[in-house]
């Protein structure tokens, strides 16, 4: 039979083109795998199999999702979006930090209506964009869960209506039978003062008194100025103009008067460059070391009482034409004289009126007034008198004060008097306006919590004629009411404080300026810029120092009375007078001098420390510190003893502000011991110096110290060798050769030959250069970095275990003799090495290098082997040992994973506090490594802005948080490929070097040598005192 060919249709029989094509394929339709992903089902291309796949997937996904309980997080969209808010875009509002005595013009960064970061206000002529650690940290107090949520009578919550009615009545009654006193720290808001005046008037003539008291007292200098100039005020100091600066017990870079402003001005004349090979000369005479002393070219270490006699010595040489007892001080006096009229500046931090009288006499003789000191603008930030506190307690006890109101002050804790809390209870009416629980508020009948400054309208006149505005960056979080509005209500004024403010500005300030025409232009610009400078008016205070001679005798007599062993109480940079004790960021900020966190302690001389058997743990294995009982002025205080080089023998330093009892989580935030009660009066003012005796006790304490004193120099094998970590020189050497102190760099760079090709960085090449001459170790950058990058606070115990998470730390190195060492502060952060040891050891490439020179972390990829941290020569990588951020926490009840964490750390992750988190930065979970990212989110943001405008990035647009926070502009950051940039200029400077560059890490963070303006040779004998015992 012949082969028959069967066919189904014409197409097959004729083998038409279309038929052949379909017949060749096994599956006629396209494989649906790709289309089902890229195209929606509705296009009809998906078929039954896709449907089943989709179904299977959805059911599985639904099952998985349903079986794992996920926390419900509500996100509510704007129904009417506020015009100025674009989700994902930050808004900046000019405002002013006025909190706990801290004052600083700033910009508030808000995201979706939440303030998340403080930046310095560059338009301000006061701080020129610099910030302080306290200002940076003040944002967290807005989101503090322990803030008072509304008015209270005793422990009972009441409504504002009820509070107003009850207090109003009681105030009237109190005014009828006696006096009502508003007790506050210095009020330097002109409109607030106006409100207070109006309130006082409403109570009746002679029925109201405003007592001003500053816990860190400036009474001495105010009284002295009243005596010698007839003006109870503090003049402006121009540290930039002074060629020779002598500070006597005056921490003007850290805590004294206006440290951010002073640091900014001071550093102007401390930086040297190719074009400016001159710098000021700074001599510091002090007992307990401060960052100011550590930054000085010459530091004369003296006992606390000799801080007083040093002023007498200066007076004797400069004014009276005599001789100095202390030859070193005498030499300083000669230098001051040699500086020429108007080029010198002497400041002293003493609260003794006579000492300040002498300082005025000295400055007058040096011709400083009108040049480095100016009466044109005076400080309003400190106006208190130490007499106020005795006036208050006497008035309360003898019944003349029937009502007392406390505003921005906590005298029960800070006043060195006994029985104030009991005295307050004698008043018929007592009200505190504090918005957080404190010792004074606890003693009062009512608490009418004030708004946080970020929720307030206000104005500030910190220096006369310079007006700053405070505007709310968020609506009130709780049922609080601004202090001013409360007073207005109680004095029967109508309208809001905002209206009052405007009217007051129109009446008081608009006319005093000539720049803006029309009030609204003036007002809008004031709010926008945050600062308005009025023409200077106050002038013409003339010196009348007839009493200086008597003052010198009085000072000598007092100084002699302090005996052999002396204690000096000082204000800590972070905690201040204790107001900031409930701020975890500041508690965890290592003290720049001692590097201790979360505690106060007795600072002693290292040799004395070893000699008297305090050296329990010489290798800092467990950080065990022996405690001692220090008796002063009839009181006692028992604290751990910490040796700090530069402390003279028989001198003890104790920080005020610790040991708060009324703070939340008092076990952690109230650590340490309160010391205010140990201050005594010397004349009319409280003195920080005391005659002490000390006895070692058998108790010990574990201190969370982040940097201990180890040997940087190796003397034992083959001569003295010093690690190439910090480099320094003297001004003279620098004038001779720009690479002075950095001579070996050329050699190191030449030796760094490599066979490997260099990775190209065609776009940006981010580089940071830090001027060691400018860095004063204040710690503003550390806190700024914490807040910008959501760096967790881990608590005292974790810090003691060397687990602090700070991406940026400030290393402190000593050289020279123990008694009076040279100090270098070195901010240490990820060096973004172009040849990074961390990158090649990561088994999963979680850390890698960007084409812009950034060493970056892919947190999601990190499995936490910690090899990168081990292999980092700079030890800047930080591991999430626990779920510090509570990112992964399961609410399991019986043993949740947050168990080992401190209360404070946990309180930082309540929903309220989490509002401060920067949404641009990933919150890291447990078990991943993290570190400095060069604020990559800010760099990307800046690049995006430039891209939107179709242009390249301009120098200075991309900034890091540490850089903008720095009051001294020590940190320069930018693109080194841009040859016109400031950072390139710094990069090629001959002072520039990298830390331990000889191991060929090729860091992108570089440092500039420290230059000291003095004759002496470099000293490289590095401290090794702990092993002398």
């Amino acid at each position: 039979m012949a082969d028959k060919i069967y066919w189904k249709g014409i197409e097959e029989k004729e083998q038409l083109e279309g038929f052949r094509q379909t017949a060749e394929k096994e599956f006629n339709d396209e494989l649906p795998v790709l289309s089902s992903i890229t195209e929606p089902i509705s296009t009809g291309k998906s078929n039954r199999r896709d449907f089943l796949k989709m179904l299977g997937f959805s059911v599985t996904a639904a099952a998985v999702a349903a079986s794992c309980q996920m926390p419900v997080r509500k996100s509510i969209p704007y129904v009417w979006r506020p015009e100025e808010i674009v989700p994902g875009v930050a808004n900046y509002y000019a405002s002013t930090v006025v909190q706990g005595g801290e004052y600083l013009p700033v910009l508030v960064k808000t995201r979706e209506g939440r303030p998340i970061k403080i930046e310095g206000n560059k338009l301000s002529i006061i701080n020129k964009g610099g910030t302080s650690a306290r200002a940076q940290a003040s944002i967290i107090s807005l989101y503090d869960g322990s803030r008072l949520k509304g008015p209270k009578r005793g422990a009972e919550n009441i409504t504002w209506e009820k509070a107003d009615a009850e207090i109003g009545e009681k105030l009237k009654a109190a005014a009828a039978s006696g006096k009502v006193v508003l007790f506050s720290s210095s009020v330097f808001s002109p409109s607030t003062s106006a409100v207070i005046d109006a309130f006082g008037k409403s109570l009746g003539e002679g029925k109201f008194e405003h007592l001003v008291y500053d816990s860190i007292s400036y009474s001495g200098i105010l009284d002295a100025n009243e005596k010698t100039f007839g003006n109870r005020a503090i003049p402006s100091y121009n540290f930039a103009k002074a060629k020779v600066i002598v500070g006597v017990g005056c921490d003007f870079l850290g805590t004294w008067l206006s440290p951010t402003e002073f640091a900014s001005a001071y550093s102007e004349n401390r930086k040297v460059s190719r074009d400016k090979k001159e710098m000021s000369r700074h001599i510091q005479i002090e007992s307990v070391p401060t960052i100011t002393g550590f930054k000085a070219d010459t530091r004369i270490a003296v006992k606390p009482s000799d801080e007083l006699t040093a002023v007498v010595d200066l007076y004797n040489v400069i004014v009276a034409g005599g001789a100095a007892k202390n030859a070193k001080v005498g030499k300083a006096a000669e230098e001051l004289k040699a500086a020429g009229a108007g080029n010198a500046l002497v400041v002293t931090g003493s609260n003794d009126v006579n000492v300040q009288v002498l300082a005025n006499a000295i400055n007058n003789a040096l011709g400083s007034y009108g040049s480095t000191i100016s009466w044109d603008r005076t400080y309003n930030t400190k106006k208190g008198s130490d007499k106020s506190i005795s006036a208050l307690i006497e008035g309360l006890n003898n019944g003349s004060i029937k009502g007392v109101l406390f505003y921005e002050t906590n005298p029960v804790y800070t006043a060195p008097v006994k029985g104030l809390a009991d005295a307050i209870k004698k008043a018929e009416i007592s009200v505190a306006f504090n918005n957080r629980p404190d010792e004074t508020a606890n003693a009062c009948q009512y608490i009418c919590p004030d708004n946080h400054w970020l929720e307030s309208w206000n104005d500030v006149e910190a220096k006369s004629g310079i007006l700053n505005t405070v505007q709310p960056a968020i609506t009130k979080l709780f049922d609080t009411r601004q202090f001013q509005e409360t007073l207005m209500k109680w004095s029967g004024q109508t309208g809001s404080y905002y209206d009052f403010l405007q009217k007051n500005w129109e009446a008081s300030f608009y006319g005093k300026q000539s720049k803006y025409h029309g009030f609204w232009a003036f007002w809008d610009n004031a709010i926008h810029d945050g600062e308005i400078v009025l023409d200077a008016t106050a002038t013409g205070f003339s010196y009348n120092g007839a009493t200086a001679g008597e003052a010198a005798n009085a000072v000598s007599a007092i100084a002699a009375s302090y005996g052999e062993m002396q204690v000096k109480f000082y204000e800590s940079i972070a905690i201040g007078d204790g107001y900031w004790a409930d701020n975890p960021y500041l508690q965890e900020l290592p003290d720049p001098v001692s590097k201790v966190t979360w505690d106060n302690y007795i600072i002693v001389n290292p040799k004395w420390y070893v000699k008297n058997g305090y050296n329990l743990d010489p290798d800092f294995k467990e950080k065990i510190y022996a405690k001692a009982k220090l008796s002063v002025n009839g009181g006692e205080i028992e604290l751990p003893v910490v040796a700090v080089p530069g402390t003279p023998e028989n001198t003890f330093g104790i920080a005020l502000g610790y040991g708060r009892t009324a703070v939340p989580h008092a076990k952690e935030l109230g650590r340490g011991q309160a010391a205010f009660h140990l201050l005594t009066k010397s004349g009319d003012t409280f003195t920080t110096i005391g005659k002490a005796s000390i006895a070692k006790t058998n108790n010990t304490e574990l201190l969370a110290i982040t940097q201990t004193h180890f040997n940087i120099t190796l003397k034992d094998l083959g001569g003295v060798k010093t690690r190439k970590i910090v480099k320094e020189t003297t001004l003279k050497e620098y004038q001779k050769a720009e690479n002075a102190g950095n001579e070996d760099r050329m050699e190191i760079m030449e030796e760094l030959v490599t066979l490997y090709y260099d990775h190209e960085k065609p776009g940006h090449h981010w580089t940071m250069v830090i001027d060691l001459n400018a860095c004063d170790g204040c710690g503003a950058c550390v806190v700024a970095c914490n807040i910008e990058n959501n760096v967790p606070i881990v608590g005292q115990d974790q810090v003691r275990r060397s687990r602090e998470m700070h991406w940026l730390r400030i290393d402190r190195y000593f050289s020279g003799e123990v008694e009076n060492p040279d100090v270098v502060f070195q901010p240490m952060l990820c060096q973004h090495c172009d040849n990074a040891p961390c990158e090649n050891v990561c088994p999963v490439s979680a850390t890698n290098h960007s084409s812009e020179g950034i060493n970056q972390m892919a947190y999601n990829r990190c499995i936490g082997t910690r090899y990168c941290a081990n292999n980092c020569p700079y030890k800047v990588r930080r591991f999430n040992w626990y779920d510090y951020q509570q990112a992964d926490a399961f609410d399991t009840g019986w043993a949740s994973n947050n168990m080992p964490l401190s209360e404070t750390t946990l309180s930082m992750h309540e929903p309220l506090t989490r509002m401060v988190l920067n949404p641009d930065v990933t919150v890291r979970s447990r078990g991943v490594m993290e570190k400095c990212s060069f604020c990559v989110q800010r760099l990307q943001g800046a690049k995006l802005e430039a891209k939107k405008e179709s242009r390249t990035l301009k120098d200075g647009e991309a900034t890091t948080a540490c850089q903008t926070a720095c009051p001294t502009n020590a940190i320069v950051f930018g693109d080194r490929n841009d040859k016109t940039s400031e950072v390139f200029d710094n990069f090629v400077d001959k002072r520039t070097f990298g830390v331990i560059e000889e191991i060929h890490t090729m860091p992108n963070v570089l440092y500039k040598t420290q230059v000291r303006n003095r004759e002496e040779e470099k000293k490289y004998e590095i401290l090794d005192y702990y092993h002398q015992s």
Binding site: D619, F620, K621, E622, Q707, F710, N711, I712, L714, D716, L717, G718, T722, R723, I725, Q798, R801, S802, R803, E804, R812, Y813, M828, P837, N840, V841, C842, P843, V844, S845, R861, C862, I863, G864, T865, R866, Y867, A869, N870, N871, P873, Y874, K875, R877, R878, F879, N880, W881, Y882, N897, M899, P900, S925, R926, G927, V928, V995, I996, I999, T1001
Partner: protein, 483 residues
């Protein structure tokens, strides 16, 4: 294997009552009855193993923060334990592979237990790199698995990744070697089994071994092939482990001497651990005739050799540090000897370098008590060697600002002691259910190296040569020699 052996060599199987049946009886016996001693120790170590699991669970639940590590010292007991266990695991392969290739007959008495020890030590070791991860649940990231995340590969430059390959290879080859060696012995047990279940299970374990000539021939070939495969592994695994440190930039880690130094140290500690175990096993299961003083002496010779190599490495490091003139290196070693970890260095030196020197004396080498104590010393010393390398180098490296100290927590201690429990627990199970001594291999040397064989030969030779040679030394008719 039936080559001539000098009559001067001591027998490797003692006892004139030995024959093939007796050997089988003796060596299978531990699997056929249970002693109270075994039960108690198994329960105790089992409890320890559970505590190990508990401590690991604690770590995973709360975080690595429960260990004593800090920002400066990112590895301490975890990686110390890892390297220690890996080192211990080295003796097994060395004994089975290299000694097999070198035809060292004394290997037969100890190879099975040594291999088992290797397997268990590697299991213990493997726990640490896994559980030291901050996010152990993401551990699979480390494997080069093609994935839907796009081209996300592990970093082939990282020595940690090399570790993954080295250790997994080592583990698989060792397991294969060990298990293939067990097949004829499982068959022996099966054939003696009375219970049905026991027969069935050992039959499965023996892969149905029948003992045919073809099977024996393939078995021998496989042994040789595996021996050849694992010989380089003996050297490579610890070399790669040493790269974890040698490729870094940390002074005290960054040392080219590390690979040979680590391998010698591994063999050193491995033999010590074999001795510790075998001395217990021979007592517990009455195997003194099979694990003889001769075996112990041979191992002690290797211990004194490798211990001295390690000692030379320590001194070389010190010399190089001084000779380099490099500050950081000099400081690292200065600090290692005289710094805050002086005690650890002193322990390491005395246990590892000084104590094995006793073995230059024959009386010491052949003393069971000295051997047992020294084997423990060596293990302590080798643990401290790793601790000294890892922790002292990290504690004080480049920038003095971040120097720190490590103190272990209870979890650290629990995991370490727990891992020892896991190891002993597994070994006890092994010794109860598996033949602890390779029956077939011991039988293979019966004709050459047993006391019986030597006696027989001596008898023959004595007859031929006037009976002098054998009588003097090991002749079975010499009553004194026998006792």
């Amino acid at each position: 294997m039936h080559a001539y052996e000098s009559e001067f060599r001591e027998p490797l199987i003692n006892g004139l009552d030995k024959n093939y049946t007796k050997i089988t009886d003796d060596l299978v016996a531990p699997t056929e009855r249970m002693s109270a001693m075994w039960l108690i120790s198994t329960l105790l170590t089992g409890a320890g193993a559970l505590f190990f699991v508990f401590c690991l669970g604690w770590t995973v639940w709360f975080g690595i923060g429960t260990w004593g590590l800090n920002k400066t010292i990112g590895w301490a007991w975890d990686i110390t334990n890892f390297v220690w266990w890996i080192g211990i695991g080295h003796a097994g392969t060395l004994i089975s592979a290299i000694l097999l290739l070198f035809r060292q007959r004394y290997r037969t008495g100890i190879n099975r237990a040594a291999e088992a020890m290797t397997i268990f030590a590697v299991i213990c070791a493997g726990m640490f790199p896994v559980f030291h991860m901050g996010r152990v649940w993401d551990a699979p990231f480390i494997f080069p698995i093609p994935n839907t995340r796009g081209p996300v590969w592990p970093n082939f430059n990282s020595p940690l990744l090399w570790d993954v390959f080295a250790i997994s290879t080592y583990f698989s080859v060792s397991l294969l070697f060990w298990y293939s060696g067990l097949l004829p012995d499982f068959a022996t047990i099966r054939d003696r089994s009375k219970g049905k279940f026991r027969k069935w299970i050992y039959n499965i374990a023996a892969f149905g071994w029948t003992g045919s000539a073809k099977q024996w021939q393939r078995f021998e070939s496989l042994s040789l092939v595996l021996a050849a495969l694992s010989t380089p592994l003996v050297l490579s695994v610890h070399t790669i482990v040493s790269f974890d440190f040698a490729t870094s930039v940390i002074p005290g880690w960054h040392t080219t001497i590390f690979p040979p130094y680590f391998v010698a140290g591994a063999i050193f500690s491995g033999f010590a651990m074999v001795e510790t175990l075998m001395l217990i096993v021979r007592k517990l299961f009455n195997l003194e005739d099979y694990i003889t003083i001769n075996h112990i002496e041979s191992m002690n010779k290797i211990i004194v050799l490798t211990g001295s190599i390690v000692g030379i490495a320590y001194l070389t490091e010190l010399f190089m540090a001084w000779y380099s003139g490099y500050l950081y290196e000099q400081f690292a070693f200065y600090n290692r000897i005289l710094g805050k970890y002086l005690w650890a260095y002193a322990l390491m030196m005395s246990c590892n370098v000084l104590s094995p020197q006793l073995y230059w004396f024959k009386s010491m080498r052949r003393n069971i008590y000295v051997t047992f104590i020294l084997s423990i010393f060596v293990n302590i010393g080798m643990w401290f060697e790793r601790f000294v390398i890892i922790v002292t180098s990290l504690a004080d490296d480049y920038l003095p600002s971040s120097w720190a100290y490590f103190s272990p927590t209870w979890v650290d201690i629990g995991i370490y002691t727990g891992s020892i429990s896991v190891f002993l627990f597994l070994f006890l199970l092994f010794s109860r259910f598996f033949p602890t001594i390779a029956i077939a291999e011991v039988k293979s040397i019966f004709r050459t190296s047993s006391e019986v064989a030597k006696a027989e030969r001596a008898k023959k030779e004595g007859a031929a040569h006037g009976g002098f040679m054998g009588f003097q030394h090991v002749g079975p008719l010499d009553k004194d020699a026998k006792n």
